[in-house]
Symmetry: D2
Subunit: 387 residues, 4 copies
């Protein structure tokens, strides 16, 4: 099955979960602006929150109550979050006046009511696709890190995600928590657009350590695949020498990275670690990978963007002296030795992230507000004309 | 008509000229590797050459003779080249032994025969699409600059181009002239792949200078469109102050470039001027634009890549103090004042460039051979492990 | 023991071991923090202002009055500024309450008094060193551009300069005009530090156009020297091809710049045009030049810093196809042809610029406030520890 | 009048005009080209070699024999190298014809003679300055890594070093081993120039872990100083989050690095790790430090150069979440926690490295040959003039 063919699958109407489908010119994988619509009203919502942060717990509670009592949805939470909820006692909830539009229950009685409502909340256990197919959409509370975590929970198709920031807005969390009732009403109505953020499917192959020859593919024993939203990183870690990593594209050898390591990033990841290496920044809907060296020895190792329908392969060069470390979205860090190969290709399962103002607008806002892109002080006025 | 829809048109069989069509997964505008095939044997070839270079003239003559006598094609040349051909006298042609595979006519008699053949050559005049539709393919002799010139001749659909380098190979000229008989035989047989290089459609609007208000669109009088293969450049020219250029994407304001200027480049152009500004390099089949500032005042003005289905607009900021210059693929340089607006969108007419080894392989070869990408001296071995 | 003192030890003959010693000219200073002191009280001040800006004219007037009436100094102004002063009529001066510390004359009567004082103001004409030697210090009102202009007026030794910004503070204008009486009192007392900003002495040699051979130095006819505070720029201007500029260091050939041009900058200039090319930023007291290519063709043309005691020479490469433009601190733009050579060496005449908090502190403040160096939004917090 | 001499004028009291003069420590040198001279003929040479490389051992042996037999010097070697020499048996030495100028002993009898000469070789043990003061010069065999090792052996004053490359030439190893007799004769004659490469004195302070307050300086217990030739690196190591490092300059706070880490490099180190981060490259005699962030979060964190007479201090920010790693010239890697502070200042003990053609020439040769600086393929000719 070619990558192109696999992409076509994305356009089936039930791809993103039980009740959602996307509209738009679906024969063009270069998405411009997609819009959410529901074939029948959404009824199940998974709420994911940043782990172990007391300030988040209260907001999390508030949103769960609202979804159950005001909108009558079935609310799912992760087991660890469910346990945390049990620890809340009456009187601990904030008396915030900032949720005036939270009409149906008085914030005064929030915690009392909540304790009564806890039994209505259902526990969602990570388990491939059975429960996933019950979820109509995901509400995410936290920063970009929490959204990366949410992405990691869904290794196959992902329901639409609405991401609320708890403080400063991020690229992946464009909504302010304070507006959650208004925003969630729009989600339920299906009037918002979304961006399909491509993920990478990374498969790490490791050969047994007994000294087989490099070609002895029969002994490759541990293929593990992971869907990556930001980037795969191979880094020298604490080895004080340099990494030497061979890069292959569609099975032909491209180059050897000599330096601290290499990043293979999505456009979503282009504003994260890849940006720190000096790579250009890519809008999320451009169907490409970014290959960016980390501190390369060569002065001329400019980062490159290759089309998403290429497949990449990385392994240590035979002359490499030390082992490296590999990580996926900053997680699952492990040794990357001469016994390892990582395959990277376009994932069939992109992440549908609900837009605030629009795919491109949100992105430009993120560039300016989060990265201070093209930032200038008021002093940087153009110089006067010379005499 | 949405950009997506327009892209679909590209996949009709007669798009690239009289007899050619392309194969491949044509529902995916993210082309991987396309292959040339002919619905009926090609019979008309336009030969374009670098202007006024005596060394080229001889090679040009040799190729024309070969196409006519060996392969029986109708050969078209530009009027200026036709005139130049008349000046060749018997005895001036090289007695190169490097064309041993040029079997049917002896190089010894090349110039004598040629003078006899001149009358068989037809003159091609630039004239939109009438003559263009007669051309089955274009053979181009010269460097990347000559191919840019060839691109400028075809403002609408372009026949497949096979580009021969006269000296060192370039990104756009992967074939060595010495192999032309072998290569052209493959072209005629239809066994080679090609890369569709996206072009930009740039429209320069200029308002009359009589002082109309900015909104007075009725007075916009001179829209001129041009298909651009590499880049549109707006530059301060000899104005000693800085440019201030406002960039709009899909009608919303993005940012103001303050600096020497701005480049809007195709992936093809990412190895040209855009590379000199520090932008990352993009494979030709990635459907995106590069927006790269030239010497920006802001330390944080990283170049960006936006999807090809956006439409861009640039104009001088109202506070700009001096005029700028605009150019298209380094040509048509003219003033860019507050009375001008340039619209840039994906062209419906990409350039089908015949590949040597394959789209991605040719590109990686170009990166390494032409740009010395990730170049290292033999001294840049990894350091020994520290004690 | 200060670092400076410790360095002195290096010059002892037995420093490197038993029998070695070093020779050489080791006396070029690396200034740390210099302090102003007066051998006798300063009595003559030149006030320079941004040209033709009504807002500046009023502040200029206010400062002149203060210097004359409150501190009893002789005030010099440029002829063009003197003429502009004549145009002020009574009643035109601002009634600002922000100059409360301006005690000796009431702002109410500012313009009336001023007209009476005008005859006390002396005209300073640019004329090498005769008048220059009368000036004890310069007060400069305007932005960095005005200070560059002030630098251009003093082609030999420069009195200490105190630079007041009229709006946003710059690298060269650290003082807010509102605090001028306090600040000028400190200057007169001699309690402030200053930074010696190195300048470049640039000499442009042009050969007669009659076609002499390149070696025919007898015909070099127009040597012109200029002291440059920021940078010498050689740029392709509106020539649409690339510049080819040969760089020599201490008479040996270094490299050929192929691109838009080249900048030879001082550390002071490292925050101006050179920064826009991507060069690193250099504190003003580091005794070096920056050689930074502008949009170089080569991916590996990293900017370099060479010691100030080198002498540089630039000329067009013999294969260059078009002429270039040369400018000095953005001024004196003129053609730079194959008949030109520019010599660049350390000027004997640095610019003593009075510091606000200290040489390094002012510089770091400028980096952060003016260039938003290492700027981060509040959203760019470090990511949480991964699970 | 040399630039150096002209600079001296600056220090006269009337330099800045009528009444001003400058004060301060103005005596820190900017070396141009230094030359070696001997007060009496050198008699003791330390030969240092790359560790445990059989190919080096033979060359090492050859050089030792030559120094003893041909030039009559006392030769010192490290203890580990001395032991390695014992393992050589007769007949193992190469019969190279490339040392024709090695006249006094026939290479045929090299190993037989050598075994007889071994007892003449003296063992040098690292022990501060007593033995060091016996050494007139050091001959170093190996790559840049071996020279860094040699630098680490001399924590105080360093005798002049002549560095022979065994394969490809490096920045620090400009001499080809094949020419060693000619080159060493020049060293002994004292006709070569040298470059004083500044080192950094790094002192790592660690507080006891018992929980003292940050201010409790009495409990700082382990100050360790090390002389660094290339750079001090603080890096996140395998911690998957970002480093947060506070930088102080002369006791005032400068900025917080958020990213993979930070490099404080000498100009010598500017061609090593710092170059990989994108910093500009600095000639070895420029008296400055380079502060270069490694993969910074901020788009605007341009590397900076500060004068060598500043003193720097780095520590983890109080909000840093993970520990970091610190290393010195790639050695002594250890944890860098909130209990650590590193002080960095100019070392009193620079490394005198003998030049091949001259300080600047050798450096430019290194840039071009080792780093392929401003490298271009023959294809990167300037484009033809546009029509």
């Amino acid at each position: 099955l070619s990558p192109g063919k696999r992409h076509l699958k994305k356009q089936e109407s039930t791809f993103f979960g039980r009740n959602s489908m996307m509209l738009g010119d679906t024969n063009v994988p270069l998405y411009k602006q997609l819009h959410l619509s529901w074939t029948r009203p959404p009824s199940n919502c998974l709420v994911i929150k940043k782990y172990h942060d007391p300030a988040v717990l209260k907001k999390f509670k508030m949103m769960c109550i609202w979804l159950i009592t005001v909108r009558g949805l079935d609310v799912y939470v992760e087991e660890k979050d469910f346990e945390e909820l049990q620890t809340i006692k009456a009187g601990e909830l904030p008396r915030s006046s900032s949720y005036d539009n939270f009409k149906s229950i008085s914030t005064k009685n929030l915690d009392i009511e909540f304790i009564g409502l806890i039994e209505k909340i259902k526990v969602w256990k990570i388990g491939k696709d059975k429960l996933n197919n019950k979820i109509d959409f995901i509400a995410c509370l936290g920063g970009d890190g929490t959204l990366l975590y949410a992405s990691s929970l869904f290794q196959r198709s992902v329901p639409p995600i609405i991401a609320f920031s708890l403080g400063s807005l991020g690229f992946l969390t464009p909504f302010d928590f304070k507006e959650f009732p208004t925003v969630l009403n729009k989600v339920l109505k299906g009037t918002l657009g979304f961006t399909l953020r491509n993920r990478l499917e990374s498969t790490l192959w490791s050969r047994g350590a007994e000294g087989e020859s490099e070609e002895d593919d029969d002994h490759i024993i541990i293929p593990e695949s992971v869907q990556v939203l930001n980037e795969v990183v191979i880094h020298r870690g604490i080895y004080s020498g340099v990494c030497m990593i061979d890069i292959y594209c569609d099975e032909f050898f491209v180059t050897t990275v000599i330096g601290d390591g290499v990043i293979v990033a999505t456009p979503t990841g282009s504003t994260a670690y890849a940006a720190a290496t000096g790579a250009s920044i890519v809008a999320p809907s451009v169907p490409c990978y970014i290959i960016a060296p980390i501190c390369p020895h060569s002065l001329s190792f400019r980062p490159i963007m290759v089309p998403l329908n290429c497949s990449l392969k990385c392994k240590l060069n035979k002359d490499a002296r030390g082992d490296a470390q590999i990580s996926f979205d900053g997680r699952h860090m492990q040794d990357f030795t001469k016994n390892h190969i990582v395959d990277i290709s376009a994932s069939e399962y992109p992440l549908p992230c609900i837009d605030k103002e629009g795919s491109m607008q949100d992105w430009f806002n993120g560039l300016q507000n989060t990265l201070l892109w093209n930032g200038r002080s008021s002093a940087q006025k153009p110089l006067e004309k010379k005499k």
